[in-house]
Structure formats: structure tokens, C-alpha cells
């Protein structure tokens, strides 16, 4: 289902996410798929299928009806038997970018200081800050990954989970869809509570072409999100989990001390709490256990887990970190 929301001022939304310089850098990157997959259209990736590329793949015996143009006559001259020469097929892969747009992701300052592609400005122009909005950070990451996919002539699907269900950016291919992609992502609004597990399961059930799947979420969900990840993996996706957190969630002492009433941005529930060092220590224990559980699940399942805090410079993440982790090349 294509997102029907058409945000006004395409150029404006375009520039809120990236500048042109940064896009140029992204064009040089491509998404790595660790296994060969059967694609749907001709693409730039080796497929499990045999096809018409120049790259030799294998021989097989001739059976009647085969194209005689593919018989290896040199082999026939030596062996007096007919063999067919098979070549690698180059097809596309499908890149799924799944974005958690729940209210908990929409936390932090709305408009952070941002200087993508521009020379680093002393004092925080490099694209990350301690109170960066998580959703904005996730949207930029999603857009960057999508643009890399489009640049590599891969099929790209972007889906956002929020209270209303799932917003999809229909499978598209080619750089020509880049503007639409950026418009779609820029227009995404955070909303309400999401059941991440249910959303991921639903997506896994409907996605026809398994491929490389990026999940961008803070995983603040009661169910933990692991069921959804398992469902996606069962559907054949190669999963990359980008666990996006604000620094204040990892180290709450940065922002939280004293007598406070904490309001949950998703549920609106309030919780009175007097935060002291003992409580902070307890929080650190709980956090480590929760995050460790998710990371352990991913490690056991061969899922690539990356914890990313929004104070990491964004361009650093995309241009270097993801490359080091073997996600893009």
C-alpha cells in the first residue's frame, strides 16, 4: 500500500533530511546481501538463477530443446559430448526498511543542529547531539539506507509502524524514485502506541520478496519485539536491527535527578519517582538486562544487532559505522 500522504513543499522536506553533497556520498555505497537471492528483475546483483551475464557459472548436460547457441562447442570437440554453458544471472534484491514511528521514538528536541555534508563546525555541526530526536535520526537513517538501495538498482520497500497500522512506500526501483522516497519519509509522523511484534509479524506475512531488512526502533515495547524479529527471519529476511536510543535513555542521570513525575510519551501514564544514585544504579541494571536480552536474542539468531545512540554523528553512522559492520559497502 502506497502512502497517500503527500507532504507539501517537496524540496523543503528533501533538504530537511539531507543535502546534495551527502546524497552524492550515498550514491557510492551499496547494500550488502550476505547470501545470493533470486530477484525479480534484472539487476546488478548476482542471482541464484542462471542467466545471460558474461560471468561463467557452470556446465550442464544438453537436453533436447536447449538453446543450441549455448552449447560449448570446444568441449564437444574434445569430449564428443554436448554440454551447455551456464552463466550467472544478475538480478535485483529487495531492501526492506522498517521504521518504528511510535510516539516513544518521537522524543528529544525536534530540530537539532544539523550539518550533513558541510565541513564540521566546532560545537556540534557534525550531525549528532545529545538531545537529538530519535525519530528524526531514524528517519534520516531510513532515508539514507533507502537512497543507497535505490542507487544500487535494488527494489526498495519502506514501511513505518504507528498507531494507525503500517504505512508503506511501495516497492520501487531506480534512483528516479528518490524524491518520492524522501518525501514519504519526511512526511512520516509519530503516533501513539505500537505493538511492534504484531506489526513485524504482519509485515512478514505480507512481504512477498524476502531480502535485506533493516528494523529501526527503540524496542520500547512490552513484548520485547523478539517475536516479530523471529517471524521476519522465518520469512527469509536477512535482518539488521538498528536499536536507536537517546543518550538520556542509556544514562538517565544526564537528565533525570530529584523528585520527578515521569510521563510516558506513548501511553501518557505518569510515574512519580524520586531519583537518587541508588535508583539510577538500579535503572542501569534493568537497562543492561533489557538491552542484553535483545542483543543476545539477535546474536543467537544471527541477526546483525547495532545499538545506536543519537549523540553519534549521523554521517559518521552511515558513512563509516554501517560500512564497518558490513551492512553497506
Amino acid at each position: 500500500m502506497v502512502n497517500t500522504a503527500t507532504p507539501g513543499g517537496a524540496n523543503a522536506t528533501y533538504t530537511t533530511l539531507f543535502d546534495a553533497n551527502f546524497l552524492k556520498k550515498l550514491e557510492r555505497l551499496s547494500i550488502i546481501s550476505r547470501k545470493l537471492r533470486a530477484g525479480r528483475l534484472k539487476g546488478e546483483r548476482r542471482s541464484v538463477r542462471r542467466g545471460n551475464s558474461v560471468e561463467f557459472a557452470d556446465y550442464r548436460n544438453y537436453t533436447p530443446g536447449d538453446d543450441l547457441r549455448r552449447v560449448d562447442w570446444n568441449a564437444y570437440a574434445r569430449l564428443e559430448r554436448l554440454f551447455l554453458k551456464l552463466f550467472q544471472e544478475e538480478e535485483d534484491i529487495t531492501v526492506h526498511v522498517l521504521l518504528d514511528a511510535s510516539k516513544s521514538m518521537d522524543w528529544g528536541d525536534k530540530e537539532p543542529v544539523f550539518g550533513l555534508g558541510a565541513p564540521a563546525v566546532p560545537g556540534g555541526g557534525s550531525g549528532g547531539s545529545a538531545d537529538q530526536n530519535k525519530l528524526v535520526y531514524a528517519k534520516r537513517t531510513a532515508a539514507a539506507l533507502g537512497y543507497i538501495g535505490l542507487s544500487g538498482f535494488d527494489r526498495l520497500t519502506v514501511a513505518a509502524f504507528h498507531r494507525g497500522g503500517i504505512s508503506r512506500f511501495a516497492p520501487v526501483r531506480g534512483r528516479g524514485h528518490a524524491v518520492n522516497l524522501l518525501r514519504f519519509i519526511a512526511a512520516l509522523q509519530a503516533g501513539g502506541e505500537t505493538d511492534l511484534d504484531a506489526s513485524l509479524r504482519a509485515y512478514a506475512a505480507h512481504a512477498r520478496y524476502p531480502g535485506v531488512c533493516f528494523i529501526l526502533s527503540d524496542f520500547f515495547t512490552a513484548q520485547g519485539g523478539t517475536d516479530g524479529l523471529a517471524a521476519l527471519q522465518a520469512a527469509g529476511h536477512e535482518l539488521h536491527v538498528l536499536h536507536i536510543l537517546a543518550p538520556a535513555e542509556v544514562h538517565p542521570e544526564v537528565a533525570l535527578l530529584g523528585d520527578l513525575r515521569l510521563r510516558d510519551s506513548e501511553t501518557g501514564q505518569t510515574q512519580e519517582v524520586s531519583i537518587d544514585s541508588g535508583l539510577l544504579d538500579l535503572y542501569a541494571e534493568k537497562f543492561a538486562a533489557w538491552q542484553g536480552a535483545l542483543e543476545g536474542f539477535c546474536r543467537r539468531r544471527g541477526i546483525n544487532y547495532m545499538q545506536i545512540t543519537t549523540d553519534n554523528p549521523f554521517d559518521e553512522l552511515v558513512l563509516h559505522y554501517l560500512r564497518r559492520r558490513g551492512v553497506i559497502s
Binding site: S104, E253, D264
Partner: protein, 631 residues
């Protein structure tokens, strides 16, 4: 540490409303977090102590409680004992007894006396006085004296301390503490006693003050002559000497006995620790008059190693009995060894000099003779006005404590009649009738002693009682002492004694013995009624000579002033003394209570400022600043 006004601590109860206000009106800042999921898990562990949890991080509350606590404490006027400067009202009692002359005041021993050490301690105390401190200085000698009262000028205090001298006698610490109690006028009084602790067993009065005791002295090794008596026995004079070794080590010394300036006996004495040997020397020369006994040892208190004794010369008193005939009186007077009795008839009597005592029995001449008088049943006269006669008076209460009535029991005496005497102003009544009329009077008038028996001896059975010769002996002993001196059995230093010169004498010269650091001197006193001499601070033999118009009259007399006090000789320093009903241990530092109330107030003010600053800048930011560690 203690407090002077404990009631001030009641202010601390204000903490209850402050805590209640905080618990009731705890204002929480609302902060939106992405998800409270983890916080809910965390808080499940903390729900049990939720009410106290509210208080835990409340810095402002803690600061306010701290300020309140400091204010309450400051109102209670807290002080630190021995924490530096002495302050407030300080009463400094310096022991001025003989034992303070022991020469072990310095820490290394030797040289300095305890009293000098005590003076140094007092000087130190004055040097360290806090501003506004008032010092009263009391010297606890035989007669305690307030040297300075409420002094604040350090120079004057130092001068007063320097002027103090130890006495040679027994200190009266109880009287000194009583003086100190009178000086303890304010609640911040500190009583500091500097002493060696040799103050006897007497219970000291209580003082409304903090008490400190600064002990001086280190050694208890001392030998002493603790008693000396010279008495006449049938075989001749005998000398009784009591020695004591009050130290912890055996002591040996040479005991020299000088009689009238000549060495008469010298013997080696060895004493085990705690031994108190008694010596009796018989066969002293029959004319023994002045005896000096010296124990030559090398102890640290030489004061008690010499004692003196004076033997009465036995010079009699000439007495004239003017009577129609009174065999009772004659017989009683003749029994007295010092009385040389002459008799005269009233008709042939002419008043004139020559008699120390004149006894008029039922008669009084118009002109009185010089010398002392005993009037028995006198007629009416300006000296003893008589308004009538009392028939069969019963003997009333008698002042048995008076020396003249010593050993006199008048309970069985009956009278047929007595004169109704109007008590003259000069006389005190010794015995009264049951109705209150005087029967026996005594007093001094016109430079003479007069005693009156207001009834006829023949009209009573007094003369038949045992009391009569005793009463006569007492009266004659007082009226004709045979000596110019009224000597108690033992004359202690700094004790005044009355002098009764012969009637014609106009000057009395007293030679005062010297000591190691004070030269001997002579004092000449003009004769006056009630003449007394109190400059008996020096131990030794005092010589009294009388003169009239430059010519010596009467006899030369001697008296001895001795320490002879086992308590003072027992110089072992006491680490603690009993004051205020409990034992007060000695402290090295001469300090008074240091009031820390002003300091607390200043601290409270600072904390209040901090609290105000935190209120305006927020505790969260400050705490975060303290805790923030970049990862």
C-alpha cells in the same frame, strides 16, 4: 561538650512541621520520557519505602533542618570543654598551702616549687583568655583571700598572679571554694582549681560551675615532723616528737634537738615507707626554755622538717584579795600555782599599782586600781549597776562553749540570793538565772579585764561544788594570764593572737623569724586596747619584748609557730579531687568552656545562603553537575 541553656533545644521540635510540610507539599517536576517501561520495573523494587523515598533526595529540606538544628543548638549555648580559650566567668583557685612549696613543680622535677608551677599555669590561662572573660583569683591559704575579682585586664591579672605567695600553713580549701561559690555569679562560670590535691578529707562545698582541676607536683617523697610537745613531768621537762615518712621509699636523716640555742641531742633516724616513729626525750635540762627540732633529710619539702617548742617560764601573777574574809576564795586561789596571793581588808585598802589582779569581795572602792579585776558580789557602782536583789534564783542556761566555763558544771548549784545586775555594755553574760538576769559576767573595759560574780559565795553552795575551783582557775587564768600572750595549744601560721602587755608598757616589739628567702624582722606596735598580732606567716620562734618610754618592762616572751600538719606533709600529688560531689580528674590544659554558639550561628547563616542559592538555581542542576561523568 555540653550546653548552658538546654531549654533552647526545644526549638528543634520545629523540625516536625518542616518535615510534614515537605512530605505534604513535595512538588514534582513533570518530565516526559520516551517510555516509562524501565522506570516502572525499577520502582517495583522501591515501593516498600516510598514515603521516605520522597525525602531522600531533598537537599533543601536537609539544609533547612540543618539550619534549624544549628539555631536550636546555638540557643542552647553549647560549649566545648577544654577546647581552647577559657571564656565566661572564670574563678581560679590557687592552692596556697604549705605543701605547694614542695620543690617538684617542674616536669623534670627539682628546682621549681609547685606554687611557681601553679602560678605559671595561671599565667598561661590568662594568656589564653577569650575576649570578655572575667577572672576572679582566689588564694587558698590558711585564710583564703580573693586577690582579684572579675578582672578583665590581663596585665592586672598577671600582676595579681605574680603577687601571690604560698603560705606556710594548712590551706583551707573548703573556705576557698565557698569564696569561689560566691564569685560564681553567672551560669557560664568555670571553676579551675590549681592544687597538688593535698587538701584534706573535708567535703568541699558545691559550686554552680563547670569544675576543672589542674594538678601540680610529681613526687610524694617527704619526711616530716608531724608533732612536737614539751611538757613538765616530775622528773623534769620531756620532749615528745612524732616523725613521719610519707613517701614510698625508705628515708634516713639526722634528728637534731637544740635547747636554748645549743645542740643537746643528735641521732640518726631511719624510717620505712609509711612509718611514723614517735620519740620521747627525757631528762631535758630543768631550765629548758626554747627547743628547736630539725630533721635533716634531703626531701623536697624542707618546711616541715623543723619544729619549735617554747616552755612556759612559770612567772607568777601577783593577786590581791580585798575581802572581809572569804576562806572559800582564798583556798581556791592558793591552789593555783601561778597566783601569789596578798590579802587586804576593805577598810585599810588603798588603790595602787603592783598587782596584776585585784579581787574585790562584796566591796568596791571609789577609785579603781590598775590591772584586772574580779568582783564578787559587788555593790552598786557605775562599773556594775545593780538595781536590787533576787531571792532564790534558779541557775539558767550557761554558755558552756566559753573558755571561762570550760569543765564547769553549774547544774547542782543553788543560790539563796543574787544581785540584780544591769548588764553593762562592756560585759558579756556567761551564766544567767532562769529569769534571764546575769549571774556571771566578763569583759574588757578601760584597757583591763573585768569579771563579775553577782552573788555572795557564802549565800550559795557553789563553793562546795567541784565546779568552784575550776571556775576560779579559769577566771584567774583569764584575768591574770601570767603571760602577755593568749596562746592556743598549737599556734598555726597566719593565726592572730591577742597580746596583753603589762599595764605600764607603751610599746611591744615582736621579732619575726626569717626563712631562706625572707629575712628576719622586728615589728614595733604601740600598746592599745585589744592589741593583737596576726603577722605569723613565718614558721619559727617569735620574741616579744615590752617597753615603757624606751625602757624594757615585763618579761621577754617567746612563742612558736609550727606547721605540724600531717595533711600538708603528705605531699603525694592527687590525680583527682572530690568536687561537686564527684571526683574531678586533673586536666593538663587550663581551659574553660568554649562557647560555640556564635560559630554555629555563622555556619547556619552560610547554610541559609547556600539554601537560598540552591532554591534559585535548582538542586537538580547542581547535583547533575556534581555527578555528571561523560562516558
Amino acid at each position: 561538650m555540653g550546653v548552658l541553656e538546654p531549654a533552647g533545644l526545644v526549638l528543634a521540635l520545629l523540625a516536625i512541621p518542616i518535615i510534614l510540610f515537605y512530605m505534604l507539599r513535595l512538588r514534582r517536576q513533570e518530565i516526559t520520557v520516551s517510555s516509562s517501561m524501565l522506570w516502572r520495573q525499577v520502582l517495583q523494587d522501591r515501593q516498600a519505602n516510598a514515603p521516605w523515598q520522597k525525602l531522600r533526595r531533598n537537599l533543601l529540606l536537609y539544609l533547612q533542618l540543618l539550619v534549624l538544628g544549628m539555631l536550636a543548638l546555638a540557643l542552647a549555648r553549647p560549649f566545648l570543654e577544654g577546647a581552647g580559650q577559657a571564656s565566661g566567668n572564670i574563678v581560679l583557685v590557687v592552692d596556697g598551702s604549705a605543701s605547694m612549696q614542695a620543690q617538684d613543680g617542674a616536669d623534670g622535677g627539682g628546682g621549681t616549687t609547685r606554687f611557681e608551677r601553679a602560678r605559671n599555669e595561671a599565667h598561661n590561662l590568662v594568656d589564653n583568655l577569650a575576649a570578655g572573660a572575667r577572672v576572679s583569683l582566689i588564694l587558698a591559704g590558711p585564710v583564703p583571700a580573693t586577690i582579684l575579682s572579675g578582672g578583665q585586664d590581663k596585665a592586672a591579672l598577671h600582676a595579681a598572679i605574680a603577687s601571690m605567695r604560698p603560705s606556710n600553713g594548712t590551706g583551707n580549701m573548703a573556705a576557698a571554694i565557698t569564696l569561689a561559690a560566691a564569685a560564681a555569679t553567672s551560669p557560664d562560670t568555670t571553676l579551675i582549681v590549681i592544687s597538688d590535691g593535698a587538701i584534706g578529707e573535708e567535703k568541699l562545698p558545691e559550686v554552680a560551675a563547670n569544675v576543672h582541676y589542674i594538678p601540680v607536683g610529681h613526687s610524694g617523697d617527704n619526711t616530716a615532723i608531724t608533732a612536737l610537745a614539751l611538757r613538765d613531768a616530775p622528773q623534769g621537762p620531756q620532749l615528745f616528737v612524732n616523725l613521719a615518712n610519707l613517701g614510698q621509699q625508705a628515708a634516713a636523716g639526722l634528728l637534731n634537738v637544740e635547747i636554748d640555742g645549743r645542740l643537746w641531742d643528735s641521732r640518726q633516724v631511719t624510717m620505712a615507707p609509711g612509718e611514723e616513729p614517735q620519740l620521747t626525750l627525757l631528762d631535758l635540762p630543768i631550765d629548758t626554755h626554747l627547743v628547736t627540732v630539725t630533721l635533716k633529710t634531703s626531701d623536697i619539702l624542707p618546711l616541715d622538717n623543723t619544729a619549735w617548742a617554747v616552755r612556759a617560764t612559770g612567772a607568777g601573777a601577783t593577786t590581791l584579795l580585798v575581802s572581809q574574809g572569804n576562806s572559800f576564795a582564798e583556798k581556791a586561789l592558793n591552789l593555783l600555782p601561778q597566783v601569789h596571793l596578798a590579802r587586804a581588808q576593805p577598810a585599810s585598802y588603798k588603790p595602787g599599782p603592783g598587782y596584776d589582779l585585784t579581787i574585790f569581795d562584796g566591796y568596791l572602792p571609789a577609785t579603781l586600781p590598775p590591772g584586772n579585776l574580779l568582783l564578787i558580789n559587788p555593790p552598786n557602782s557605775p562599773l556594775v549597776p545593780i538595781s536590787g536583789t533576787i531571792a532564790y534564783p534558779a541557775i539558767g542556761p550557761a554558755d558552756s562553749s566559753d573558755l571561762l566555763l570550760r569543765y564547769v558544771n553549774l547544774n547542782d548549784v543553788h543560790l539563796a540570793a543574787a544581785s540584780r545586775v544591769q548588764t553593762p555594755a562592756w560585759a558579756r553574760t556567761l551564766v544567767r538565772t532562769a529569769g534571764g538576769d546575769p549571774l556571771l559576767l566578763a569583759g574588757e573595759t578601760g584597757g583591763r579585764r573585768v569579771a563579775v560574780i553577782a552573788f555572795d559565795l557564802h549565800r550559795s553552795d557553789l563553793a562546795l561544788q567541784v565546779a568552784f575551783p575550776i571556775l576560779m582557775a579559769n577566771l584567774v587564768g583569764w584575768l591574770a594570764p601570767g603571760s602577755a600572750l593568749d596562746l592556743p595549744p598549737r599556734l598555726l601560721p597566719d593565726t592572730a593572737l591577742a597580746i596583753h602587755p603589762v599595764p605600764e608598757a607603751d610599746k611591744v616589739t615582736i621579732a619575726i623569724p626569717g626563712s631562706a628567702d625572707i629575712p628576719a624582722q622586728e615589728v614595733t606596735l604601740p600598746v592599745s586596747p585589744g592589741l593583737s598580732f596576726g603577722n605569723t606567716a613565718q614558721l619559727g620562734l617569735y620574741r616579744i619584748a615590752q617597753s615603757a618610754r624606751g625602757k624594757p618592762v615585763g618579761t621577754i616572751e617567746w612563742f612558736a609557730v609550727n606547721l605540724l600538719d600531717r595533711t600538708e606533709s603528705d605531699i603525694a600529688p592527687r590525680p583527682a579531687i572530690d568536687l561537686q560531689g564527684h571526683s574531678v580528674s586533673g586536666g593538663k590544659e587550663a581551659t574553660g568552656p568554649l562557647e560555640i554558639g556564635p560559630l554555629l550561628l555563622a555556619l547556619a547563616m552560610l547554610i541559609l545562603l547556600l539554601e537560598w542559592w540552591l532554591y534559585h538555581h535548582g538542586t537538580r542542576g547542581v547535583l547533575r553537575g556534581l555527578r555528571w561523568r561523560p562516558r
